[in-house]
Symmetry: C2
Subunit: 317 residues, 2 copies
Amino acid sequence: MIVTVTMNAALDRTLTVPNFQRGQRHRASQGLTLAGGKGINIARALKRLDVPVVATGLAGGRTGTRIVEELTSEAILNDFVRIADESRTSTAVVDETASSYTEINEWGPHVELGELEMLREKLHYLSRGAELVVFAGTLPRGVDESFYAEAIRELGRRGVQTVLDSEGEPLRLGTEAEPYLVSPNQREAEGLVGQEFHDDDDFAMALDAIADLGAPNVLLTQEEGCFALVREERRRVRFHAVAPRVEPVSVVGSGDVLLASFLASRLAGKPPDEALRSAVAAGAAATLEVGAGRFDPREAGRLTGGVEIVELEVVRS
Amino acid sequence: MIVTVTMNAALDRTLTVPNFQRGQRHRASQGLTLAGGKGINIARALKRLDVPVVATGLAGGRTGTRIVEELTSEAILNDFVRIADESRTSTAVVDETASSYTEINEWGPHVELGELEMLREKLHYLSRGAELVVFAGTLPRGVDESFYAEAIRELGRRGVQTVLDSEGEPLRLGTEAEPYLVSPNQREAEGLVGQEFHDDDDFAMALDAIADLGAPNVLLTQEEGCFALVREERRRVRFHAVAPRVEPVSVVGSGDVLLASFLASRLAGKPPDEALRSAVAAGAAATLEVGAGRFDPREAGRLTGGVEIVELEVVRS
């Protein structure tokens, strides 16, 4: 079983609006309300891949109640700590006529110390049955930037493997705590390494720099695929995987699906290049659907053959 | 007591977003979630004016649950029929830096015949204690366009006065059913009369045309005030009321506040011109706040002195 942890869960509303324009009154042709936040998106993708998963984290106020109801109606196992302050709502407007995607996010809730302690206890309990605990997304206000790092160390001491997908200082501290895998996107990875990436050498260097920080496996996700570093028998293998071209409807959450698929394949014992191929195809399939974490596994299967994978040369020892 | 009926209740989300632009990712500086729909907005304004009010109508699905919860948390007495299909969510983006207001509405739920019958029974019961029943807003799908007309006639037979604020065919049929007052905005009134209005004569003509259809009292609301026709002792008196200039933040729902204030004054026995003056000032005060139906009565009081009222000449006998 995989446990995903979403510290800043959201109610994700995606509105499809033809010819969306500022200052106008519109009628949405479609409205989709889903529980969201990176950890929840990953849980949704894992469930679609038939991997047993439990989503936990913090959910607050009436919006938190709705988040939990939505998860339950999707039959995604969930066990959230309910907090007092209101969880955020994220609103996205998809205009297919103009291929535009407009996003409005709110700040997350403020978390009290006692609420955080309840989450730590819940994690301790849930991780007993877990092969992997995935921490994903930003931290809400009132949570120390070392939260992920401490949780990763605590789970590590008890032999539970962890995955981290976050940004900024929580990502840096968490990476140093030596999780099994970190999965930043390009912007997050640039922040972590401290420079911009322009060519393949930069990305290969970044993979090693991040691995040196403490994470033996690194997925550096992009819209069109990913760079990956995998440690196999004390050796580091680096890949660049590029997805076949598709017409994206909504790219949001496609990195979450990529990560979920990669984890599912690796847990099933597939070799890294094969896992990467499925993962990148799943990420591409996710861009064809509105709603983060949603994708059609058959579409992913069709796209798998078109994924190009090259093994990267070692750029430094 | 006043009963307001909202057939197409909504969850109104207003997001304040500086420099809002299509295709960008934004962080909302403020997010406000309120129960909405014209009848609910009117109930909110009546409550702020200390007038006893009960909000009823149809509320569906999880969004309906949230609508009722929001009403209850505002201490607005409510008694909605819960329906199976999902109530709509309305999203508005206010950008104060650019003075832009962007609105995205969803279609309403589909209503089943049995659900409508439950509402009719509830109305029958609630109207026993009511001085006035206000029908406001659009009809959701599956509700016949003659719904308001039939309800108005039924209440009229039992001596209960009614107010109607809607549009299109439901407004036309409802007006013919002879409610105490109809309150269309300019666009709705133009649809009802069948022509566009350009000068004061056009508006005065429209007031009489609408009164001739069957409504003895007419409020024709505009952003900057209203035209009104009031029947007093078998005589028709017509007014044009113009609000003092303010810098509007959000004009949505300001007509609902205007109507609520007018009704509150009339029920309190105030003469029509005085009622109109307070109503237009309250409508102007409502444009200074985000959230439909919300306004500061003290601000309205300050604006009252600046309202200009002229009695209009009779343009035809």
